[in-house]
């Protein structure tokens, strides 16, 4: 399986082909509905999506003695209306589940980004690939806060590649 590391550079992104399985090591940031909305309305001091990977995920509460709770992907299409704006700001990768609208696919192509899928409904399994969690912003959003996750060999499938080819 192909291994990729963050930050995702142009070369890594260009070489990713739709449908292929890859494992990602490095940093991803969680954000879902309300974090997207708030970021685009108000921004967040000191945090930028430039060059980053977003993970559409709202984990369960952290059990005692664990790094993170269950942390699988949520439905990506709910973020579709916010995504082109984030891609314009330099977001390079997205991890989620399910389809994206044609505007998002066009923006992925335009900004040379990539959309990954990961095992949906497998939050317990995916928690085992997370090495460290650091809160970043919007703590009062609870499970929807932005968290920095350091991951090792996180399993992904290329859902939409930088040429705009979709697996669906």
């Amino acid at each position: 399986m192909k291994k990729i590391t963050t930050p995702l550079d142009e070369n890594q992104i260009r070489n990713l082909k739709v449908g292929e399985m890859v494992s990602l090591s490095g940093v991803v940031y969680t954000a879902r509905d309300q974090a997207h909305k708030r970021f685009l309305e108000k921004g967040s001091r000191g945090f930028s999506w430039k060059g980053q990977v977003v993970y559409y995920c709202g984990p369960t509460r952290k059990p005692k003695g664990k790094i993170i709770g269950s942390c699988g992907p949520t439905t990506s299409s709910r973020m579709d209306s916010f995504t082109p704006a984030l891609l314009a700001q330099g977001l390079k990768g997205m991890i989620g589940k399910g389809r994206r609208c044609k505007e998002v696919i066009a923006a992925i192509k335009k900004y040379k980004a990539v959309y990954f899928l990961t095992f949906s409904g497998c939050g317990a399994l995916l928690s085992e690939y997370v090495r460290k969690v650091t809160p970043v912003a919007y703590k009062n959003l609870g499970p929807e806060a932005i968290l920095k996750l350091e991951v090792k060999d996180f399993p992904l499938i290329v859902g939409i590649d930088s040429r705009g080819n979709s697996v669906y």
């Binding site: 369960t60 709770g69 269950s70 942390c71 589940k97 939050g123 399994l125 009062n140 609870g142 929807e144």
Partner: protein
């Protein structure tokens, strides 16, 4: 007790769902689908062993209470159930996914549950907690058919509902169908259908045949696990029926993701 049911439902995959996944893996020939089914089965193992939620969406807690007519209840039943939900969700490190105000949203918490109370014959009470994931709940459909609707139109509506849920709602699905009653009641039937053991067929002859036909057709859609192809699009189609009005035929589809979770206790 409600607290324990919340934890059990969210941490331990139902044995019938687990069995259905194993059977699907044995039948599946698509390599990628087999890999994903393997991950889903492994996930249930990790959840049980590590006492983690099967899915980070620990659902909207839906509680079904059947009270025997010989049972006398002292105290505030709904209040006690809601307190049990809070306790269970805290104890199991489950997610606080419920916002008080659907428009203003705001901070999320652990309840209240949606509670359905039914009076039945007997002298015991039965309590079921169904934490319903919202990725699949969002794909719910209701249609009021004409009483003269053809069976093919009904099938088409149900299959289209599955197609529209597609890769987004975590296939392989369990498809709950309500047939008859009123608009509100058929929705409840569709949800209740998810509680029936997978593999157990409807006791009504017509519904039983429809369940089998639909399952076959749905598994030919090539949606597959994660929507990436394969013959495992649904693990089961469960249909619940009720008498209806001469002027209509309400039909509801309530889909569950593969992480179909529920737990029951009898008092």
């Amino acid at each position: 007790m409600v607290a324990d049911l919340c934890v059990e439902a969210n941490h331990v995959l139902r044995p019938d769902v687990s069995l259905a996944l194993q059977k699907a893996l044995a039948r599946e020939t698509n390599k990628r689908a087999r890999g994903i089914l393997g991950a889903i089965i492994a996930n249930a193992g990790v959840a049980k062993r590590e006492k983690l939620a099967i899915c980070q969406d620990t659902g909207f807690p839906v509680v079904f209470v059947e009270i025997g007519n010989g049972v006398c209840i002292l105290g505030d039943l709904k209040e006690e159930i809601n307190q049990g939900i809070v306790n269970g969700y805290k104890k199991g490190y489950l997610r606080d996914s419920i916002v008080r105000d659907p428009l203003l949203r705001g901070a999320s918490g652990f309840g209240p549950a949606v509670i359905h109370v039914d009076i039945v014959k007997g002298d015991c009470a039965r309590l079921t907690v169904l934490p319903k994931g919202f990725g699949c709940e969002n794909k719910t459909q209701l249609k009021m058919f004409n009483p003269t609707a053809k069976l093919d139109e009904i099938k088409k509506f149900i299959i289209e509902a599955v197609k529209s849920a597609g890769p987004d709602a975590c296939p392989p699905f369990v498809v709950g169908v309500g047939l008859g009653g009123t608009a509100d009641y058929t929705m409840l039937l569709a949800k209740k259908a998810l509680l029936r053991k997978l593999g157990a067929r409807s006791s009504e002859l017509g519904a039983r045949k429809l369940e089998q036909d639909l399952l076959k057709q749905i598994n030919r859609l090539n949606i597959g696990p994660m929507g990436l192809g394969g013959k495992t699009t649904a693990l089961a189609v469960n249909i619940e029926t009720y008498p209806t009005h001469i002027a209509g035929l309400p039909i509801a589809v309530n889909i569950s993701c593969h992480a179909l979770r529920s737990a029951t206790a009898i008092l």
